[in-house]
Structures are given as structure tokens and as C-alpha cells.
């Protein structure tokens, strides 16, 4: 029987340790490959609550925005939550003076327009539409207060529960002075087109809104429409080809900002036109954003805010943008105000002094 020399035994132990170390390194390498591949994934858009961030710069006055069913106030460069997410709040509009606002709360089957105070506390519902019977429910959106603050225009689905599939929005007006008075129907929607939405009240008593239609080739489109009285006296301000909607009147009501879309390309441009109260001037694209939404004029009229993805891109959550002097012959480049938010693009911001 031979006895292994001590030196050989220690060398064997060393080799075993080296082998063990190598196996460990190999396992670590495999794990590293696994984790390394994970780091190559595209980064999901980071989204935070507005109250956890600050805007890139301060805009004057008070801006009310919606994100994930919560209404936020942006004032002096700071966000404050007003109401939500219970109630799924959206589409705020300030009353003249800015001491009160109206907004829409939404459930799975209906929505309600509610009067709130400046701090977001509920004062009273203005247009309630809920019913236990499914087809007796209604949707109501886009509340807009008249310049003198006496009434509110809004879109309301006037479906007949016995008419089966017919559900289209019409623009209604309800008095804020006499809330018990019946609402007045202003517009007659084209059947099975989605109807009439996004009212903007003129100081002369007329109504500007977006009317949807479908042409003979089967293309759905919207036009800005001007109506002087309930039920009639209306006409288009833009062509079907322009496919414009989301009108926003400047404080002097001499300019209209709007969004004009290409449905096939799935892009939407921010455009501005002069307005006489009866006619629109030529439309001008004023922003490089290819997915612009929900423009709102500054109270001073010297600029616009709107919602669009970061970097004027096509993808990603919607951020707040500021466009100074949109009526200038050569408008300035827009500036991105927020980052990492996911603002509700169908909720036009409200902006007061």
C-alpha cells in the first residue's frame, strides 16, 4: 500500500478548490447572462403622481388637470390633489371668477357632471344620469360654462331605450341659475356617428362644437360647427378632410385652437385659426407634436397649453406642454412642462387666474 505524499494531497485540495471556484464562477456567469438580458428590455414609461413631481417651469395662474381619475391643481409650480380617485374624475372647467368648478365623475355605466368648490369639494350634482336599468343610463361629458357663468353646455347621450343600438351625443344647455329648469337640446346629431361633442360657448350666445359624421366612402370625420340657436342655424367651419375637433376659444374669442387628425396614420396636429365669431381663417399647424390633444388658452391669451407624449413623439404617456405666442407668424417651439406623468388626454385642462 502506497502513502500519498503530503504535497500531492495539498495540491489535490487546491485543485478541488479551484474547480469549485470555477463552478461558482460559471453559475454566476449564467445568472449574469440571465440578469443581463433582463436589463436589455425596453424601459417601461415611468409614471408618478403629479404631487410627487414638479413642473420644469412655473406657469402663471391655476391649472386643473386629470390623471388616473384624480383632479390635480397646478399653482405656483406645485401640484395639489383636489378630488379622486374615487369617482373617477375628469374634464374640469372653471366658472368665471375661479371660485367654483364643474367636472365629470364616471362609473362603468354612466357619468355625472358635478359642481365643486375651488378646493375640489362636492357642492351638488348638476347632471345626474345613473339608473339601475342599464339602458336607462346616460353618458354626459365636456361641461363648458358660458362666459357670463349663467349656464353650462355639455354633451349628453340622448338614446331612446327602445331604439336599440342608437346612442349618440347631443349638446345640451342647463341653467346654473335655475338648476331645476329643464335642459335645452341645442344640437341634432347625425345618427350612428357618435354625435356632437366638445362645446365651447361664445359670448354672443352662439355655440361652437365638434360634429361627427361618416362620408360615402365610409370615413368617419369631425368638423368644427357653429350654431346660433338651439335646434338649428348651424353650419360647418372646417372641411371633412381637415377632420378637426377639440375647439378651444381664446379669451378674446378671436382665435380658435383645435386638433386635426389623420385617422389612418393615427396622428393629430395642433392647429390655430383666427375667428370672427362667424368664420374661421386659414388653419395653421403650430406645434411639431404628432399626437397633440386638448388645447387650452392661457387666461392672458399669450399662449396655449396642450397634452402630448414626451419629445413630440408618438408613444408614451401624455405630458403637459406650453406653446407661447401661437398666433405669431412664426410661433416659438413648444416646451414640455411635465415629465413622468400620465395625464388624461381626453380631459381638457382648465386654466384660471
Amino acid at each position: 500500500m502506497s502513502v500519498r505524499p503530503r504535497r500531492t494531497r495539498s495540491a489535490g485540495r487546491r485543485q478541488a478548490l479551484v474547480a469549485l471556484g470555477l463552478v461558482g464562477l460559471m453559475a454566476a456567469f449564467g445568472l449574469g447572462v440571465y440578469l443581463g438580458l433582463g436589463t436589455l428590455q425596453s424601459k417601461a414609461a415611468q409614471v408618478v403622481k403629479p404631487t410627487d413631481t414638479r413642473p420644469a417651469f412655473t406657469l402663471p395662474g391655476t391649472i386643473i388637470l386629470a390623471q388616473h381619475g384624480v383632479l390635480y391643481q397646478l399653482r405656483n409650480g406645485k401640484f395639489t390633489a383636489l378630488i379622486g380617485p374615487a369617482g373617477n374624475w375628469t374634464q374640469p372647467a372653471l366658472l368665471p371668477g375661479g371660485q367654483r368648478m364643474i367636472a365629470v365623475s364616471q362609473t362603468g355605466r354612466h357619468s355625472t357632471i358635478t359642481l365643486l368648490d375651488a378646493n375640489g369639494h362636492v357642492v351638488r350634482p348638476l347632471v345626474a344620469t345613473g339608473s339601475p336599468l342599464r339602458v336607462d343610463n346616460h353618458w354626459t361629458f365636456y361641461p363648458r360654462v358660458t362666459p357670463n357663468g349663467t349656464s353650462v353646455f355639455y354633451a349628453y347621450d340622448l338614446h331612446d331605450p327602445y331604439a336599440g343600438y342608437l346612442v349618440d351625443f347631443a349638446i345640451m344647455e342647463r341653467s346654473l341659475i335655475h338648476p331645476a329648469a329643464p335642459a335645452v337640446q341645442w344640437t341634432i346629431p347625425n345618427n350612428y356617428t357618435g354625435g356632437d361633442v366638445e362645446p365651447a360657448a361664445l359670448a354672443n350666445g352662439s355655440l361652437l362644437y365638434a360634429k361627427y359624421n361618416i362620408d360615402a366612402a365610409g370615413h368617419s370625420f369631425s368638423q368644427l360647427w357653429l350654431q346660433t340657436k338651439p335646434g338649428g342655424g348651424g353650419g360647418p367651419l372646417t372641411t371633412p378632410q381637415a377632420n378637426c375637433s377639440e375647439p378651444a376659444l381664446s379669451p378674446t374669442q378671436t382665435e380658435v385652437a383645435m386638433v386635426c387628425a389623420d385617422n389612418q396614420l393615427q396622428v393629430s396636429r395642433l392647429e390655430v385659426a383666427s375667428f370672427t365669431g362667424g368664420k374661421l381663417g386659414p388653419l395653421r399647424v403650430v406645434s411639431p407634436s404628432i399626437l397633440a390633444a386638448s388645447p387650452t388658452w392661457a387666461p392672458s391669451g399669450n399662449g396655449l397649453i396642450y397634452l402630448a407624449p414626451a419629445g413630440n413623439g408618438r408613444v408614451g404617456p401624455f405630458q403637459l406642454w406650453w406653446l407661447p405666442n401661437p398666433t405669431a407668424a412664426r410661433p416659438s417651439a413648444p416646451k414640455q412642462v411635465t415629465q413622468h406623468l400620465d395625464l388624461t388626454a381626453t380631459s381638457q385642462p382648465a386654466w384660471g387666474n
Binding site: 464562477l25 460559471m26 456567469f29 449564467g30 445568472l31 447572462v33 440571465y34 438580458l37 433582463g38 436589463t39 428590455q41 425596453s42 355605466r109 354612466h110 357619468s111 342599464r134 339602458v135 343610463n137 353618458w139 347621450d157 338614446h159 336599440g164 343600438y165 342608437l166 346612442v167 349618440d168 350612428y192 356617428t193 357618435g194 354625435g195 365638434a210 361627427y212 361618416i214 365610409g218 368617419s220 370625420f221 369631425s222 375637433s245 377639440e246 386638433v259 387628425a261 385617422n263 389612418q264 396614420l265 393615427q266 396622428v267 393629430s268 404628432i290 399626437l291 390633444a293 402630448a308 407624449p309 408618438r314 408613444v315 408614451g316 401624455f318 400620465d342 388624461t344 388626454a345 381626453t346
Partner: protein
């Protein structure tokens, strides 16, 4: 001495072998890590991709159609040249209303992809089109899949539209929702307010036959999968019914394509995990992976979208069914323009 001293060579060989084994060990470990990472893809690929299955037997003959053994189609490599390739996209309800495997296709879209020119053409086929089925008989084209499986749907489209289909991809409702959620949601430009008092509540409640009210406001907006599905699936509130839905489905495909530009090969596992059981295709894993760079290369104006409208068909009633009678002369013209001569 030629070959050297054997006593000196042995340790060198041993060292060489050890180095080789070490390198091999690292390579195997790395491959193991990669396999583990792509395991959801492999699982989905094994379950949901592969050769086109034969036609399924019809649960019961109806609407003038009758079941018969279905055709089979061989898998071909993904063409990359100017010739391009054609994929038949199929989408359907697959909730408890239906017998498993015997489902009507709510959506049939022929997609022609020409990688060399980065051009994509989409043609939606109305589900109510009254056509001869490959499995025999005449019925609405949405029954082709129910009676003949993917092979039946492909063969029906090939024989009636005189277009060659290279591949198919079927996706269920939950699959579309999961796909859109996994890519982080999509930005849509809703072409009109979509209001529907009779939208199926089959994915949200306990009764698959129940209805719910839905409302998608018009304009640009960011939507998760469930909301995108509502937009693409609702059909009652529009003058154009199923045609409007076809248009919206094509828009959602354009929106998914835009979002897909942000994805890379490392994103495929998490997407695959969301699709397990909700997608069937004869596109291989490598072929799907090769589509990602193509999606990135496509410009916004490179997708040509077409839906059929009168005079491509005439509405009619057959028995108790509202159907669309095809005008094959007009349809052949559209198909030839988009897909070339048969």
C-alpha cells in the same frame, strides 16, 4: 526528438483540456442563463406555434355549411425579398359562450408585408361576407375557422379571394389585452365617440351572454389593453357597424406597431408569457423575432389600410341571417391592387 518528450506533453494536454472544459462550462452556463430567460418564449412556442393543424370537425352543421376533413398547409421560411409574404390575422371571441376550438372569427385581416420596401398592406374581410367555405357549403366567412380551424380559414380565403396566404396568426380577446398591457399600453386616436349599450360583458362578469354600456371618447388618448379591446370590438353604435369596427381594428394594429418600435428581442419573453394559450400561429419563433426590426423600420406612412365597402358587397337576408353578398369582380380588383395577381 519529433513530437517532443511524452512526459512534457502530457501536462500540456491536460492543461489544454482543462481550459477547454472551463470555457465549455462558461458557455454552457451562459446558454443555461439565456434558456432560462427565454423559457416563456420556448414554452409559448412549443404550445402555440408550429405546423398548421388540420381542420377541426364541425360541432354541428348550420347555415348551409357542412363539415369535412380540412386541408393542411406546409410551413415555409419567412420571405425577405421584394416578393414579401402574406399573413392572415384572425381574432375571435373565445369566452365560455363557445365550444373550445369552434369559435367564429370576429376579425379577419389579410396583411401583406414587403420587407424590402418596408411596405405593409391590410385588407379587412367583413365577417358577414357570404362565401363558399373550403370545408364545403356556403356560410358567413366567420364560420370558416369554426368548421375548419386555421387551415379551413386559410383555404377559404385563398380559394375565394385568389390570394396566397403564407402564414396565419390567431389571437384571442385576452391575448390582445395581455399583449397591449405587456407592451405598456398604446396611444390611439379614436376616430369618433364609440358608444355601445350592448357591448358584451363576457370578459368582465360571470355571465358570458350579458351586456354592458361602454363609451370611448374621441381623439388622442393612451389606453390599456382592455380599453383598446373595447375600441376595436364595439360594433353597435356606428352607421357602418362591422366595417367601422374593421377600421378601428386596423388603427389599433397601427398603434401596436408604433409601440412595438420601442421593443427589442429581450422584451419577447414577457410578451410571450402574456400570450400563452391566447395565440396560435404557424410563424416560427425566429420569424416572429425577425419581424421586430421590420416593425421598427416601418414609417408611419408605410401602412396601407383598406376595408371593404359597397360595391364590394351587397347587404341581404338569407334565412334569418343578415349577410353581405360579395361582388367578386370588385373584390378581385381590390385584392389584385393590394396583393398582386393570384
Amino acid at each position: 526528438m519529433r513530437g517532443g518528450d511524452p512526459e512534457a506533453i502530457r501536462p500540456r494536454r491536460r492543461t489544454g483540456l482543462l481550459v477547454l472544459l472551463t470555457v465549455l462550462g462558461f458557455v454552457m452556463s451562459g446558454v443555461g442563463g439565456a434558456v432560462a430567460y427565454f423559457l416563456p418564449v420556448i414554452t409559448t412556442a412549443l404550445h402555440d406555434t408550429g405546423p398548421l393543424p388540420g381542420a377541426l370537425p364541425s360541432p354541428k352543421a348550420s347555415a348551409g355549411a357542412h363539415s369535412s376533413p380540412g386541408p393542411t398547409v406546409q410551413i415555409k421560411p419567412l420571405p425577405t425579398g421584394k416578393a414579401g409574404f402574406t399573413v392572415l390575422l384572425l381574432g375571435s371571441d373565445n369566452d365560455p359562450k363557445f365550444v373550445a376550438g369552434h369559435i367564429l372569427t370576429q376579425s379577419m385581416i389579410l396583411v401583406r408585408v414587403i420587407p424590402a420596401t418596408h411596405q405593409v398592406s391590410m385588407l379587412s374581410i367583413p365577417r358577414d361576407l357570404w362565401v363558399p367555405l373550403a370545408t364545403g357549403g356556403t356560410a358567413k366567412i366567420d364560420a370558416a375557422y369554426a368548421f375548419g380551424g386555421p387551415a379551413g380559414a386559410i383555404q377559404t380565403v385563398e380559394q375565394d379571394f385568389h390570394v396566397h396566404v403564407d402564414y396565419y396568426a390567431w389571437i384571442g380577446l385576452q391575448g390582445l389585452v395581455g399583449l397591449i398591457n405587456k407592451i405598456g399600453g398604446i396611444n390611439i386616436v379614436a376616430q369618433m365617440p364609440v358608444l355601445d349599450n350592448y357591448y358584451p360583458a363576457d370578459l368582465t362578469g360571470h355571465n358570458p351572454f350579458a351586456y354592458q354600456r361602454i363609451c370611448v371618447l374621441p381623439g388622442p388618448q393612451r389606453v390599456p389593453g382592455a380599453r383598446a379591446l373595447v375600441y376595436a370590438r364595439s360594433r353597435h353604435g356606428s352607421l357602418l357597424g362591422d366595417i367601422a369596427r374593421n377600421k378601428r381594428q386596423q388603427e389599433v394594429l397601427v398603434d401596436i406597431k408604433a409601440q412595438a418600435k420601442t421593443l427589442g428581442i429581450a422584451d419577447i419573453p414577457r410578451i410571450a408569457s402574456s400570450l400563452s394559450g391566447e395565440i396560435h400561429t404557424d410563424l416560427g419563433l425566429g420569424q416572429v423575432a425577425s419581424l421586430l426590426p421590420l416593425a421598427r423600420a416601418l414609417g408611419s406612412g408605410s401602412v396601407h389600410q383598406v376595408v371593404m365597402l359597397p360595391p364590394d358587397y351587397t347587404p341581404a337576408t338569407i334565412g334569418s341571417q343578415q349577410v353581405l353578398l360579395p361582388n367578386w369582380t370588385a373584390i378581385d380588383g381590390v385584392v389584385r391592387q393590394l396583393f398582386g395577381a393570384p
